[in-house]
């Protein structure tokens, strides 16, 4: 009997014109989205390769180790094809220098703003918005529609248990929606192979997990549709209710979470941080100027009462030490500024993390948020994308600058240059090196931060769990409601 009921549900779905329309729309959307995602990824890879070469060339052609400037680039991630997450919003590159802090800039959307207006629709978006809506369309009248049709009464005039009927209905609808969706999803996997997207074993596992997550999410909306259908007598009412719930959970609740967290845990804006940094910097340089002025006053006092020759001799004797002292002081100021900037950033980052955590926890009352967060965590295009890269780039910056400092010492280029003015030859600047290219073979290369599959799963496990709980609640509620359902 269970099989018969499942077959009926399947047949009922597959024979409906609603199914044909949604299947075609879903298939086109899914395949097109992944196809465009692959193109985007390939473009990003080409751009990344070119930028890497240019960065390397720039180092080679620098006028000495003191002039070396490096740029680290964010590596495209093949999983962004399915879950773009923050990929298009986070900067692609950062300058690597001892003077400036690491800051990712030039995001794909800031470079090509037109695409920011009509944002890329990834598979995660299609699942989150389109498939959930379709799941509702197929379930809003699953029970009350049968009551309206009289088929519920006719079915239960036979020896059919309500529990078995409900289970079969759920299974039939689930199979009727999920199996046809597997077809376009399999096509997307074929596309990945045809276009030779470099996917590791771990990436394939992640894709499988993402598909599983998507099914879990769609299952929730199937359960929700059944629940509301079992709680109401009229399909028009259940459709309206489901639409309101869908709008609330997919469009409103995730934003409410962010807004609530913003109010409860305020975080300094970029402008405020920059203002604080500048104020500190100004204060440090003012103190430095004063200190420098005092030092010179003291040096002058030391030379008081000396003859001109004695003064010259004293200067010649101490000039180098003085320069070193001044330079050390300047370096100290720079260090202080860098340290302060880092502290400010760390403090802001900690507060931001707190705010993010609160926002996520609040918005997780919506299954759509849970799905989105889990999908981004799996694909590693999540909220930590920026900080993860910036953190690894800072580590790289330290390694890189240390290497450059070492090279500067080895090649005796301390960053000075000489300007000569000659009445015959005019002005010339000498950087103290010949025109030969630098040997960059030993320059440390930046490697993208790696997130293990286990770590990605670990971060998304809470959302998998929440989605499962939501499903159990929906199905449990549907069961209770259907056992008490008035079939008349």
């Amino acid at each position: 009997m269970y099989t018969l009921l499942v077959q009926k549900e399947l047949k009922n779905i597959l024979l409906s014109s609603k199914f044909t329309a949604t299947f075609i729309v879903c298939s086109i959307l899914i395949i097109l989205s992944v196809f465009i995602g692959i193109q985007e990824y390939n473009n990003a890879v080409s751009q990344y390769d070119i930028n890497q070469q240019i960065a390397s060339q720039n180092i080679e052609e620098a006028n000495g180790w003191d002039r070396v400037r490096n740029i680290a680039h964010r590596k495209p991630n093949p999983l962004q094809i399915f879950v773009s997450g923050l990929h298009f919003d986070v900067g692609r590159l950062s300058n690597i220098s001892s003077r400036d802090d690491v800051k990712l800039s030039r995001s794909p959307y800031s470079d090509e703003t037109i695409f920011a207006i009509f944002r890329f629709i990834d598979l995660a978006f299609i699942v989150q918005v389109v498939l959930s809506l379709f799941a509702i369309l197929f379930t809003y009248n699953a029970i009350n529609g049968e009551r309206e049709n009289g088929t519920l009464k006719l079915a239960f005039s036979n020896s059919v248990s309500r529990a078995k009927y409900l289970l079969a209905k759920f299974s039939g609808i689930w199979l009727g929606l999920i199996i046809p969706l597997l077809i376009p999803l399999l096509v997307t996997l074929l596309l990945l192979m045809v276009y030779k997207v470099p996917l590791s074993g771990a990436d394939w596992n992640t894709i499988a997990a993402f598909f599983g997550l998507s099914m879990l999410y769609v299952t929730f909306f199937i359960g929700l549709g059944l629940l509301i259908s079992a709680l109401t007598q009229k399909s028009s009412l259940s459709f309206l209710l489901l639409l309101v719930i869908w709008i609330g959970s997919v469009l409103i609740l995730p934003r409410i979470g962010v807004m609530t967290a913003g109010q409860l845990v305020p975080v300094r804006s970029v402008a405020q941080i920059e203002a604080l940094q500048q104020a500190y910097e100004q204060q440090q340089w003012d103190e430095y100027s004063e200190s420098l002025s005092n030092s010179w006053k003291q040096r002058m006092q030391e030379m008081e009462g000396m003859t001109e020759e004695e003064r010259q001799a004293y200067r010649d004797e101490h000039e180098w030490n003085w320069m070193e002292e001044d330079d050390a002081l300047r370096r100290q100021v720079r260090e202080n500024i860098t340290k302060n900037n880092r502290l400010l950033l760390e403090e802001t980052q900690n507060r931001k993390n707190h705010q993010q955590q609160l926002a996520f926890n609040v918005s997780r009352i919506s299954p759509a948020s849970s799905f989105r967060l889990a999908a981004m965590n799996l694909a590693t295009t999540d909220i930590t994308l920026k900080s993860r890269y910036e953190e690894s780039m800072r580590t790289y910056r330290d390694i890189f600058t240390e290497y450059v400092e070492q090279k500067k010492e080895e090649t005796d280029t301390q960053g000075g240059f000489q300007i000569s003015i000659d009445s015959d030859e005019g002005v010339s600047i000498d950087f103290g090196r010949d025109d030969q290219k630098l040997d960059v073979s030993g320059v440390p290369q930046y490697t993208a931060p790696d997130v293990s599959v286990a770590a990605a799963f670990g971060r998304s496990i809470i959302d998998f769990g929440l989605l499962s709980i939501f499903i159990v609640i929906c199905f449990g509620g549907t069961f209770v409601a259907f056992i008490r359902y008035d079939m008349r």
């Binding site: 009997m1 049709n149 009464k153 005039s157 020896s159 008035d486 079939m487 008349r488």
Partner: protein, 263 residues
């Protein structure tokens, strides 16, 4: 009526014993209903809207729980052992809709198999559909293209194929055209002759009188009167019905009531 009655009264296939239903809002939909339908008999429940006819059928099908009393199908309490009881009953509702995306054949196949009959061949389905008067060309048409009469016929075919000893019909002729109505009465008669116990709710006084062995008149959940077809022979049932509905029978000496009084 062509059927013959034996002198031994068989055990009732359908029986309501003190069947009472009071809804949560206090409305008494059915008040102490007692009725019996033996195999090969048709019992017609007459009454206006809200008289309690459909409530009685819903109680037999366990769609609602009785406040008091019991509904028995083949001696099985339909509210205590619904799954067992429903094996012995087929049901045709007032407005048979079925699955609009399924063909008549697919609908019949599904509901008949759901009723536990899995051994039928397509030819047997076709024979049942022919029997209820459905054109062969309609067998493989989707139900969404069917008229109400055609859907009703499909519903009856399902009930026939379930081959249950008891049949519950809830306003089966409602909305049918006269020709379909006559065909339906003929078919019900055939089923009765096959030994089915049929409990039918209807507004249709004339058809009830024409086909039924017993007629019960319900008003406000109370079975006001129950008469056999013999009692009703020569009685103007329409006037009788109106008088019951108006409550005349309790207060006045109606000539119709007098005619019905046992001598």
């Amino acid at each position: 009526m062509e059927h013959t009655e034996s002198n031994i009264t068989p055990a009732p296939m359908l029986e309501a014993r003190n069947l009472t239903k009071v809804y949560e809002d206090g409305i008494k939909a059915l008040d102490n209903l007692n009725l019996k339908v033996e195999p090969g008999k048709i019992f017609a429940m007459l009454g206006g809207n809200g008289a309690g006819k459909t409530t009685a059928i819903n109680l037999f099908l366990d769609f609602i729980q009785p406040t008091e009393g019991m509904a028995l199908i083949n001696g099985i309490n339909a509210n205590k052992e619904p799954l067992e009881a429903k094996k012995h009953v087929a049901f045709v509702s007032e407005n048979v809709q079925l699955y609009p995306n399924f063909t008549a054949m697919q609908n019949v196949d599904f509901f008949v198999r759901l009723g536990g009959k899995t051994h039928y061949s397509r030819e047997q389905y076709e024979a049942a559909l022919h029997r209820v008067g459905l054109q062969s060309s309609a067998f493989d048409k989707k139900l969404k293209d069917f008229s109400k009469g055609m859907r009703q016929k499909t519903g009856i075919a399902i009930a026939i194929l379930k081959d249950a000893p008891a049949i519950l019909l809830d306003e089966p002729t409602s909305g049918l055209d006269p020709k379909a109505g006559i065909e339906f009465i003929r078919l019900i008669g055939e089923l009765r002759n096959e030994g089915k116990a049929i409990l039918m709710s209807t507004h249709d006084i004339f058809r009830a009188k024409e086909i039924s062995d017993h007629v019960g008149i319900l008003n406000n959940g109370i079975l006001m009167a129950e008469h056999s077809s013999d009692d009703l022979r020569g009685v103007d049932l329409e006037n009788l019905y109106v008088e019951y509905m108006a409550g005349y029978m309790e207060h006045t000496e109606s000539p119709i009531a007098n005619a019905l009084k046992p001598s």
